[in-house]
């Protein structure tokens, strides 16, 4: 049967050659898949964006400054707090010294009077020193009180600023569900 196979093969070849070319692939038209993606995109656009929930309250995370600048401000605020506290301590010490100065001169004069038969000796250095101390006492006391108040106010202001800046710097995390193609995702945003 080799005689028959040759013409059959030839005919098959000719038939294939004469056959019209395969139709081109259909032009891209609306496909079902893009319709589904469009729905997902709309959902994504409508998805709520979670607001930041800062640790330090609503006032936190307003700053967009460089972290080094923020750190410098925090250091300055800390120094201000410490300095204010030190000034307040100095002021209260000065105020206490002024209060002591009210008491000491009277006692010195009393001792002098006792030693001199109930009379204060005239032109006596101790007597004059006691009088001078008594005159200086209110100046020292009020100056100390003023320094104390100044120190306390400085420490309070700087301390509040320090706390606020530190809270702004703290890390915050926001979580939110995100609709995705064929499912949903979970979005986490971390701010340092």
């Amino acid at each position: 049967m080799p005689v028959l196979t040759t013409p059959v093969g030839l005919l098959l070849s000719l038939q294939l050659a004469a056959a019209p070319p395969a139709p081109p692939p259909p032009a891209p038209g609306p496909t079902p898949a893009p319709a589904g993606e469009g729905a997902v995109s709309d959902l994504a656009a409508e998805a709520p964006m979670p607001a930041w929930e800062p640790e330090g309250g609503s006032s936190a995370h307003k700053s967009t400054e460089d972290i080094t600048v923020v750190n410098k401000k925090i250091r300055n605020a800390a120094r201000g707090t410490i300095a204010g506290g030190a000034v307040a301590i100095f002021g209260i010490a000065a105020g206490a010294a002024g209060m002591v100065m009210f008491y000491v001169p009277r006692k010195q004069l009393g001792d002098l009077r006792d030693k001199n038969d109930g009379m204060l000796p005239p032109d006596d250095p101790k007597r004059q020193r006691a009088i001078t101390t008594m005159r200086v006492a209110p100046i020292v006391a009020y100056t100390g009180l003023g320094i104390f108040v100044t120190g306390v106010v400085t420490a309070l202001i700087a301390g509040r600023r320090f706390k606020k800046l530190r809270e702004e710097k703290r890390t915050s995390v926001a979580f939110s569900p995100v609709p995705m193609y064929r499912g949903a995702g979970f979005n986490a945003e971390v701010r340092f």
Binding site: G118, M119, P122, D123, I131, M134
Partner: protein
Amino acid sequence: MRPVACILFIALGACDLSEELEGELCEVEQDCWHKQECARTEAERQADLPGVCSDKGTGCTPGQQLGCVCDPNDGSMDCSYSISPLGEEYPAMMCEPTQLVCVIATPDASTEG
């Protein structure tokens, strides 16, 4: 109690040593409170006697300090006693009738009086 009151009333300026120093012996202004003066007459200075602390502007106490004015007809101003806390150490005085100032009493004048 007074220091406490002193602290409480310092704002009113009520705290000072004027009460303690009132009538105390003095030789210079620094011996008295700054609202007072050392009332010391020239006669006392010459006799090497101390003055007394008194309110500013008061001057010497009439009839009770050596060299100060006196009134022989007024018992409180006739130089019969001194305001000085020296007491008996302060010399006895008499009111000089012509000049009307307290002077050191002389034995003759004392016996006459």
